[in-house]
């Protein structure tokens, strides 16, 4: 048994996703939140690629969808950072707990 099994990769994905959730819940800085979201995207992509190898190797759908995940993550980062720059310009800071003018 010298090969890593499917469960190893899934647990690695769970660890990365849990880190992402923790960062998402605790960061005050909007860029930190974006980084946590990127971690969660990566966790999902690791799971997809692991399933592509172990569950349905002939179809390769997992690898294709990991490509799509990376593309969507790039789009998300571009829009998210544009919003961060706009927030900085309007509020002189990107601490998300200070930006609550839409809160009722």
């Amino acid at each position: 048994m010298n090969e890593p099994a499917l469960l190893h990769f899934l647990i690695l994905g769970a660890i990365l996703f849990a880190c992402g959730i923790f960062g998402l819940l605790t960061r005050r800085n909007a860029i930190g939140i974006l980084m946590s979201i990127e971690l969660m995207f990566n966790a999902a992509a690791v799971n997809f690629v692991a399933f592509a190898k172990y569950v349905a190797p002939q179809a390769m759908a997992g690898q294709i969808f990991a490509v799509f995940i990376i593309t969507v993550a790039a789009a998300e980062a571009a829009v998210g950072l544009a919003i961060v720059m706009l927030l900085y310009r309007n509020f002189k800071g990107i601490e998300v707990d200070k930006i609550n003018f839409m809160k009722w």
Partner: protein, 167 residues
């Protein structure tokens, strides 16, 4: 042998992911994010996804992290360490994260995955290109539209508004 490589890469990825979310200085978080992405690229190589490993290094390490570092440099007073980086919900958040992690590991371990003994195709990059242009051509086109819209949206959002004048 592969198991040893996996453990090294996994510990590197998980450890630097934890550093990303716990570091006091957001710039150091960004640098640890680079390390996480590199280790995940190694994991992809281990999973016979060489194309994805290359794309991961190019897009995540080369583009997204650099963009984040740009944004940090532009927005943040980097050397004012007095700025608190975490809010006051650290304890409930770590509790929630821990519960989520334990539950998902239990669920993953208890599920009987339909592991097939088959192999990935021999020429995988060729296969990905063929599939993207045949079976997955509609998602491929949609994702290119998403990228275009994100590009336009980012420009519109980031543009400095001139108040009132039309020029």
């Amino acid at each position: 042998m592969n198991l040893l490589v996996f453990y090294i890469l996994a510990i590197l990825a998980a450890g630097s992911a934890i550093m990303v979310v716990t570091m006091k200085n957001i710039f150091h978080s960004a640098l640890f994010l680079v390390l996480t992405f590199f280790s995940v690229a190694g994991i992809y190589v281990l999973l016979n996804a060489e194309f994805l490993a290359a794309v991961q290094v190019l897009i995540y390490v080369g583009a997204i992290t650099i963009l984040m570092i740009f944004a940090i440099m532009l927005t943040h007073q980097l050397f004012s360490r007095s700025l608190r980086q975490v809010n006051e919900q650290v304890i409930p958040a770590s509790l929630i994260t821990f519960i989520f992690f334990v539950l998902s590991v239990v669920a993953l371990a208890k599920t009987a995955w339909p592991v097939s003994g088959g192999q990935l195709p021999e020429d995988r990059i060729f296969e990905i290109g063929k599939l993207l242009m045949s079976e997955y051509v509609i998602p491929f086109e949609v994702v290119s539209v998403v990228l275009l819209v994100a590009l336009v949206g980012a420009i519109i959002i980031g543009r400095r508004e001139k108040s009132g004048d039309t020029k």
